[in-house]
Symmetry: D2
Subunit: 343 residues, 4 copies
């Protein structure tokens, strides 16, 4: 079976690995689709991010869907041939964070395609995968592409939970990559009375309108940015910061209402922030990281037509063209979500 393996920055290989077999409680899958995520791009373009660096070859990928090819002993509720979305999150269920319901902070997390521990956790861009049955969520009624969007949607549903109820709130989204665009869609679905999105690309801002943004602002073309939203102590109740860029966050703070909530999803480095304004306005800046229980919900939200993520999948390319796909996914002026086809 073939895999998409990164050896170093810009060194991506289509490799052969032995076919895995499934044991009790496990499921063997023929993979169908896999979306390229920002962290995949960091490994591909830079060999890692921050202090996380590649130290050995690693199969990439954690936004995947496949079809059941074999069922291990004791597995129930899944059928041969069934399409499933596969959760890449594998906590230990035992450590104090798992016991506390914070499974996404598991001390022994094995998240697909992650160089955080060593040996690295191998990913799911591959023709065949063996997963725990508990990772496999039936995706009946979804397209293969939609099923592979369950993971990024889970990230955003988790972030939305950090923000509390969004109904009737004024929501700002900074940074309209796939996560930001899903945040626009989720904010609308969750009843926000107004959704404003900012980015520096008109291509992505067009998508932001398509996903439900009431107003879009091109921060590169608008010298005064969000200044129209700063009177009377600010305008927005909630900000989903999806850019990871310090200036985007710092510029948005004056536009937040006292008591507002900023959910930080974008992963950048150190940022210089007007903490005195956060203090005086009693803002809450909350990190949001991955997800846990939201994965099943993401699948069901799509199945029940609450959210249509299909406009975000701008390209699907065969795994044999992985290198071109990764280069395309790195170009935010052309692509939103690029998926690989493993079939």
């Amino acid at each position: 079976m073939k895999t998409i393996t990164v050896h170093a920055a810009r060194d991506l290989r289509l490799e052969d690995h032995p076919e895995p077999e499934c044991g009790p409680g496990e499921v063997q899958l023929r993979m169908e689709a896999g979306g390229i995520c920002g962290s995949d791009l960091h490994y591909y373009n830079h060999g890692g991010f921050g202090t996380v660096r590649l130290r050995e070859p690693m199969i990439l990928g954690h936004e995947v869907a496949g079809r059941v090819t074999a069922l291990g002993e004791g597995v129930e509720g899944l059928a041969l041939g069934q399409l499933v979305a596969v959760s890449p999150s594998r906590p230990c269920n035992r450590c104090r964070f798992c016991q506390n319901g914070q499974h996404n902070h598991c001390l022994h997390m094995r998240f697909y395609g992650s160089a955080m521990p060593f040996p690295h956790i191998q990913g799911a861009f591959r023709e065949s995968l063996v997963a725990d049955a508990t990772q496999c969520v039936p995706a009946d009624g979804l397209s293969v592409s939609e099923a592979a969007m369950a993971e990024p949607l889970s990230v955003v549903l988790h972030a939305a939970r950090q923000a509390g109820a969004l109904m009737g709130k004024r929501v700002l989204v900074t940074g309209c990559g796939p996560i930001g665009l899903l945040a626009v869609a989720v904010a609308r679905e969750a009843g926000a009375v107004e959704v404003v999105a900012t980015d520096i690309s008109n291509f992505t801002l067009g998508k932001a309108r398509e996903m439900g943004g009431d107003t879009v602002v091109n921060a590169a073309e608008t010298p005064d940015g969000l200044s129209g939203f700063t009177s009377d102590k600010g305008h927005f109740d909630v900000l989903f910061e999806c850019s990871g860029v310090a200036v985007a966050l710092a510029d948005a703070i004056p536009a937040m209402r006292p008591g507002g909530t900023i959910v930080q999803l974008g992963l950048g480095g150190d940022m210089t922030l007007p903490v005195q304004t956060i203090t005086a306005k009693e803002l809450s800046l909350k990190g949001s990281f991955r997800f846990h229980q939201e994965f099943r919900l993401a699948v069901e939200m799509m199945q029940r037509k609450r959210l249509d993520v299909s406009p975000l999948v701008t390209h699907v390319m065969p795994m044999t063209e992985a290198d071109a796909a990764f280069r395309l996914a790195s170009d935010r002026g052309q692509a939103i979500k690029v998926q690989l086809d493993f079939s």
Copy 2:
């Protein structure tokens, strides 16, 4: 100017009162529409409810909209002829509850059309009204009927806040009068992944589907009621109890998931409840009463087309036919919301 005044049960009169004039900070309005609410019906049909009884004639009505006919000194932001939704809630802003942000529990509340204190608080079913400017919310873009729906919608938006975030939740609504039907619509708008509604009238259940209910259950025709939702400790995360009927609440409790929230809107009397189940499942039963800041939001949610309440206004009748209108509004098999036309 004419008013709709109740003197006793089944004694409703079209009376003449002097035209009110507006002072500083006040607005004079020509009333356009007024919806008949359950409490209006209690005064009309029974002369009160519970320990609250009519002790003098009272003008009814608190779901109203009108047009500005005069502006008192110092009033800004309103124009002659402008359509406004009028909030019937008038807290003192001074007592400890107002100081605590619980304005709806104001110790000196003067809510239109309420017999709770004596002398009673006269209501707003009348040709002319003088209100504080702060009660008047511009309703540009709305129909007169929609503007008069801002009040019941506020009640439901407030109730939704008691429930916390609804996105991705499974929501049950028991009792599909106007409030229950708005709860169905609000739950959908707020991103509920599943909405189930129960009632004993197929007419209202049809409306429940129209407002976004995924499934409806006629409790009178289904002997086992919600038993399909009770396996694995229950199904629903949130219940909006809008019937005020003990059996509706008691029957729904086994269908609630551990940790679920019941928001009680329906006003009934004493109820016998399985408190041991509430305890063992760690349910939360939360009362919801009126609203405060939600009134402005209700208007904006309609203006931004987040919610379409128009299917609920089944009848509009002239104020000269008030008695017939009240009788019609009392018949849940024929009418949802009956509004009076004062123009």
Copy 3:
């Protein structure tokens, strides 16, 4: 090894069972102390409660402490001879509630001394016990009696979490059995500005003062009960209802402030409640059931001298006098917590 086994109401036997041996990840303990809880008393006095009935002999007990006598393979952090408090809660860690952080609602819970499933879950009133290492919390610095109080204290710490922050709140506790008295102590420790306790026994009310109650009310001797606390819409922010008696709850409701929280710990049957008052005052009635992560905290709170539970252990009796101990524990005029000594 000897056990305390109930066969039917009032049929309690000191029985011989084979000594259990410990496997990997397990710990063998010589039991030291076990407190008699209300549910033990229900099995002893009535053969069960509600629909839960004894269907086979069952070893009682779930408030226990012991000393380590053997360590299974792979167990770390525990030493031979060490005193440990033993959590009776054994969730599966796999079901959807465990995955959701609601371990106390585990679909496959095996809680010591519980007749809820069949075969029953055998309890921990015994000379020797094998437990999972994860159940055993080192209790260095505590007395044997204190260590055996970790379980009821966990119940109350969990209930306190349902109530949110207690600092500065006015707290009422109805029912001053062991749980109610711990609620008084926890409310004080958590910074309540005022704690009032009610019961019908002056013996327990004296203990309530000792545990930190500012005011105590004997509901049997005071005809107007809590009427001194009902003016201006009520007085209390939080109620811990620990009696399970309908009249206690119903009488307290008029004394609750709008927006107040009632945490229901007492397990009774159906109760007739003024739901209209819960609604109009926007009270929250929240069930609280058992605990999960609070067990470790309970031990540490005692170790750090944040709480002194020792005044509650009024009697310690040898396991050979179990029958007398159960009768004494049933008499709320004489005893608070009766513990058995297994050494």
Copy 4:
């Protein structure tokens, strides 16, 4: 009547002003004591802070207590000669923030001794003051010094509310000025299971122990600072950041547990923060600013002996020695809270 008026940095004058008289709903007070706060020191030492600058002479002071000398028409619940703590917070009760229960963010706030609007809001370091009756909280049973501590205690009680329930939490306090020391005391009173305090002065750290700190760390003398608290993803659930110093906050972040809460009270300037760690650990950084309803509670917490703030008042000096008092209050190695005596 004499006042303490600042004209510019280091230009503090004892001035004569006409005696104020009280109108309806107002109270005339003979001032007794006033604590010097950090913002007073900023005006005194630097003529302002950040963009807030003195533009005209301003009477300083907002932590004050006095005795009633006259009662305006309609004032109830206060008596001549009674000691009262005076809340310096005067919101409009009308703007959208007041209507939303966020009175401390009032658009028209008039907070004593504040140069934020122009003309400045004159302060309360003066022999005679006329205040609204609603600002005056009876302080029977408190010393004059304690009554004048109600204001800083309110700030900390408000901050504690931002943190949610503290019972059983591990709390870190960075910066042990008066606010940090009150945070130590409030964390203990609210049931924190562990309280650790850091500062760079052994004098203040000694006070931190006296106020209930379990462990103190002198960050200047300990090269590895909080590194003992960083294993297994961190140690603290809650941080009260009271220093306003970027390095204190940045150093504390690695010691926070995933999901932990940082309440920022210290007012500094821009800070460079590891936002990627805030994101990955899902920390919440919440500003806390002033207070509103907490003022009455602060008085009662002292009256009921829940908190003893008296160790913090290290110096009381006559108003004639104001300049020396301000210099002393600026020296954190010698003084905690310096109060002026106006009698």
